[in-house]
Symmetry: C2
């Protein structure tokens, strides 16, 4: 069967339509975190379901959850001797603020040179669409796929995929598969592929402090009533030591020392700390003592205050003792750190330090443990071969600082590891203003997925 | 001349109209801090000028400043043997947020029982209107005032009266007077008058920290790039010690120890710390060690964080390293603390503690030194007699924690001390949601001002 040239030509011819479709998809403000956008996440799910259907997928369905739905589709006619491959991706996005820093509105996608700018362009709508288009190209040219294929596309990734455990458990048979590839993730650089062998976990939480019943005049009450912002900054200041270590007692109890092997792999990466520093626009890098910036951002645990709020935030002066203050925190976790236990440590740490006259509430928002895919996993071997062919270079072994919460759930409930196979790049301003996705990655990813499906069929046949 | 009964009857008869006028005045959202409300402050000035005019004041004029105007009016026909009295008040208000805590909209005044609820009802529109109505009652009944009268009503009090020094200096002759009474201030309780003999000063400033050029994905950059919120909480945490003392080096250098006299005066006040605690809705009071709540809130210097902001403040999770963070601070200052010097101490303190990779900017927003009126000041003696008559009780000597920035300017430029003569009460939620003013204070204040003018004439004649 000479399917190769056929899908290749198909992809080339249909690129303008695929781009139009991506722009359509990006216009849906599917921000999963914000309740006012819940219906937009639903609209995005419907868009995805229609797109799977028109690509030639079957049994397409929208599976409701406690919060945002999952879109499922399948094509299972490759035969029993071929593997069943599940593709993961997500159609929800991060919020957009600060809105004033966007050069073009986040949900009015704009193509500038080789890039499409929009919230979700790289993370993950552009990347999520890639394997769907690859499947379409194969189905519309060869009339079949070389593997049995399932899509699991969700709407809660950016809020921690908290409904996914129940859903995957409930539909274990529907999602049963031999291999999982994630269309969420990325490559090392535009000219350098990589295999992601580990991801940090995440714990997200919120701390709320309450002082007086309402804001008070700071001239009348200042000095005599404890200010919850002061209490909050005192609490938060105790969480990190001057040397960058996280100072919550017990936080490192289950953090294994970095092995020489991991250190060697990371130091083998051609990494320019000065270029990295300049790219984020800071005068100096800073972090946990004794580790490189690469180690800090990829394989060491973190505690970051993502947001803080309290009292008056307008221009000028409002002389008050505020009634409340709030902070949002995410920790990135490494293997063996249990999110629930880390939450308990932090909650106990802050509760023990709240001054009299201030009430505290610590609320977990989302969590997922760290995740490791074995380096010699069969999926990695096929992915490596495909990436080497498509990029003309062997992929690096990479450790990823970010989290895909559903991966440990897949492993636990389906017994299957996930291999990253995605084409986002680290400079594409994920979670930040002016997010973009490279159109060259968009088309290259489609080719790579076609070759991946072919490679997986061959692998299975050979073995 | 039997003017007494006449103005009394006039006040009684016109109370419904006066209330309607107050409600009109309160509908103008004259928030001086917010640039988008600058024209509303101007509208309030025009309202005040018209009202002075209709009360019978002369030479009414709106004096422009660098920012918000002053309204002036006079009646100078009492004769050279009568004192010239200047009345101070302000028609600007504090901002209104958090808006959702207001029971009725802040600029749609609502009368509930004896109270009118609106932003600015007590601070200071209601109180500012009181002497205008008293002057009208005298002018419309007796046809004259017992003293020469000037009004100085400003629109910048809530942002520190930063244009007032230049204006007062420029119009020294226009504002020349023998006595100044402030219609901004208050009484001890609904049934207990007080004389305010001291006010704390204020220093307002803002600290801005900048980290990376834009928000960054905390999974990709977390741990390696310094988070400006962490830097900010570390800085702010160093400003107050666990015992409530302000830990900025040099802050107490010019703070005189509390004299036995002041301690005795404060401890003579019938003050229920438990009732105070319950009234603000906290489980415990807290403040500088070694001082009572009354001392802390009235005569000791403070440092309060009025607001803090940075990163993501929406619902749920946004896993970022934010690009910036900000805090607003006001200090209340005691005599001999120079605002400029305290600003310098704080700016140096924070600049010395900024970690690498984070840029800092500290900006002064407003300042005014503490202010003392001599206890035996002639104005105090007349005020004491009038308050004793109106309340049926002798006033307490009170120390006030809040600031009226123009008072030291009047003293410096005009050589005249100011006596508080105002009828707000400390529970009226100044600067907070659901601010209100008692209608009983509104009418009682009018009577008190009529008696004050008469008393000042008599005093001068007697002496």
């Amino acid at each position: 069967m000479m399917a190769g040239p056929d899908w290749h030509t198909y992809l080339k011819e249909h690129q303008p339509r695929f781009l139009d479709e991506l722009l359509d998809f990006l216009r849906i403000p599917s921000i999963s975190a914000l309740p006012e956008h819940a219906s937009d996440v639903g609209r995005a799910a419907e868009w995805v379901a229609r797109r799977l259907d028109s690509a030639g997928l079957e049994a397409v369905q929208i599976l409701p959850t406690h919060r945002h739905p999952v879109v499922y589709g399948e094509w299972l006619h490759a035969g029993k001797d071929r593997p069943t491959v599940l593709i993961y991706g997500h159609f929800d996005t991060q919020p957009v603020d600060p809105l004033d820093l966007w050069q073009s509105p986040p949900f009015e996608p704009e193509v500038r040179e080789d890039r499409v700018y929009a919230r979700g362009a790289s993370d993950d709508k552009g990347n999520m669409l890639v394997p769907v288009l690859a499947a379409e190209a194969l189905l519309k040219t060869a009339g079949s796929l070389p593997v049995n294929l399932k899509f699991f596309l969700e709407g809660e990734e950016e809020i921690g995929s908290q409904s996914m455990r129940a859903l995957v458990q409930q539909h274990r048979e529907l999602f049963a598969c031999d291999l999982i590839f994630s269309a969420d993730g990325g490559q090392w650089a535009a000219d350098q592929p990589s295999l992601s062998v580990a991801r940090r976990g995440i714990l997200a939480l919120q701390i709320d402090l309450r002082g007086p019943d309402s804001d008070l005049h700071s001239g009348v009450f200042g000095g005599a009533v404890h200010n919850p912002i002061h209490a909050l900054v005192q609490l938060l200041a105790t969480m990190r030591a001057a040397d960058g270590r996280i100072a919550v007692p017990g936080f490192y109890d289950h953090v294994a020392p970095l092995t020489d092997e991991i250190r060697a792999r990371l130091s083998a990466l051609p990494y320019d700390e000065e270029a990295y520093r300049a790219s984020v626009g800071v005068s100096a890098l800073q972090g946990e003592a004794g580790y490189t910036a690469l180690e800090r951002s990829k394989v060491r645990p973190t505690l970051e205050i993502n947001g803080i709020a309290g009292g008056f935030q307008g221009s000028g002066v409002k002389a008050i003792v505020p009634s409340s203050a709030q902070a949002k925190i995410t920790c990135r976790l490494v293997p063996d750190q249990k999110p629930d236990e880390v939450f308990r440590l932090i909650a106990e740490h802050v509760a023990a330090r709240v001054p009299p006259g201030v009430e505290i509430e610590t609320t977990p928002l989302a969590s997922s443990p760290a995740y490791l895919t074995p380096i010699d996993h069969p999926g990695h071997l096929v992915a490596e071969a495909v990436l080497t062919r498509v990029y003309g270079r062997k992929p690096y072994l990479n450790y990823v600082g970010g989290t895909i919460p559903v991966l440990p759930i897949f492993h636990e409930c389906l017994g299957v590891h996930t291999v990253d196979f995605s084409f986002g790049l680290p400079d594409e301003r994920l979670h930040a203003p002016n997010e973009f996705f490279r159109l060259s990655s968009f088309s290259r990813g489609q080719e790579a997925y076609c070759r991946l499906f072919e490679g997986l069929a061959k692998e299975q046949t050979d073995s």
